[in-house]
Amino acid sequence: MPALPLDEAGKYVAGAYLVFLTLVLIYVAIMAAKVARIQRELGELADLAEGRPDDNPPGADAGAQENARGEAEGKVLERERSSREELV
């Protein structure tokens, strides 16, 4: 079969590359939505953790509470980071 003229072949070539781009974009959009949901839930958990009565004993010093919370968050983040690195 003779080669298609450039103007006609161009539509097919553009279509193929657009299909690839669309596939990648759809996948990335779905994954971005998942990551956004994880971030939202993480925010909810942070709110939940900050509102827990155990974390705010009546006699505790506010600065000490802040330090303890920061330390705990740091540990959690460090654990999350190391686990992600291990998995990837």
Binding site: V13, A16, F20, V35, V76, R79, S82, L87
Partner: protein, 249 residues
């Protein structure tokens, strides 16, 4: 050796793919036989190679899972197969576009290369119902690994069988009677292949990282809210991310 970060991986994939596509349209010569339509092969063939290689890699991870019983290999096997199925969709669509431009038909049933790839694709499409059909997560992981190994072994066998078959119409990129692609086309093709492989790796790592974050979140929520918490999101098909993956080591 230091493994590059996911961000570096993604940037490298984007740069190499863009360079490859630039070579396709501004450097690689027009094919004497097919003309401009041959440019589709610089996309279609790397997609197919990465997809098939991904299926084999999924099988290798499945072997590691059965040997070590570590759930992390099941997750890796699942993600590798998942990405390869997505790439397989791209292979089928871009192949059909080329077929319509070149042969005047979207699909040809008497061409072994097309039909064999479709068989492999449909075989892996059953991977999801297989996982979904088994409730027990450990059994699900074991059965999925056995499937991934068997299907992964089928991929190279299938490839060899198709090569041995007498193909009448499907062009060969490598090792034709005239010695294969000329240098400029081969360089372009290899850059595109490298970019596609980097993209596959980046997407696999992205999905693994998202799964790890999601699993950690579920554990955090369970720890904070107690045992009454039941995860509302996440399907049963997706493998369980191991607790060892989120514990400090």
């Amino acid at each position: 050796m230091k493994v590059p970060s996911l961000r570096d991986n993604a940037i490298a994939a984007a740069l190499v793919l863009c360079a490859g596509f630039a070579l396709v349209f501004f450097y690689a010569p027009l094919d004497a036989d097919q003309g401009f339509i041959q440019k589709i092969f610089y996309l279609h063939v790397p997609l197919a190679i990465c997809s098939l290689a991904g299926f084999v890699i999924g099988g290798i991870f499945a072997i590691a899972h059965l040997r070590t019983d570590k759930a992390i290999y099941d997750v890796r096997s699942y993600v590798a197969i998942h990405l390869s199925v997505i790439f397989g969709v791209g292979v089928l669509i871009t192949g059909s576009i080329w077929a319509h431009a070149s042969w005047g038909k979207w699909w040809v049933w008497d061409e072994p290369t097309l039909v064999s790839f479709l068989i492999v694709f449909l075989l892996y499409a059953t991977y999801y119902p297989l996982r979904y059909a088994i409730e027990d997560r450990d059994r699900q992981a074991r059965y999925a690994s056995v499937f991934a190994i068997t299907a992964g072994a089928f991929v190279p066998l299938n490839f060899v069988a198709v090569r041995m078959a007498q193909s009448l119409v499907h062009p060969r990129v490598f090792a034709t009677a005239n010695g294969g692609l000329p240098g400029s086309m081969m360089l372009t093709f290899l850059v595109c292949l490298a970019g596609m492989a980097l993209l596959w790796i980046a997407l696999v790592r992205f999905e693994l990282a998202a799964k790890a974050a999601s699993a950690s979140l579920s554990r955090l929520r369970r720890a904070l809210e107690g045992e009454e918490y039941a995860p509302q999101s996440g399907s049963r098909i997706a493998p369980r991310v191991p607790s060892s993956a989120t514990s400090p080591s």
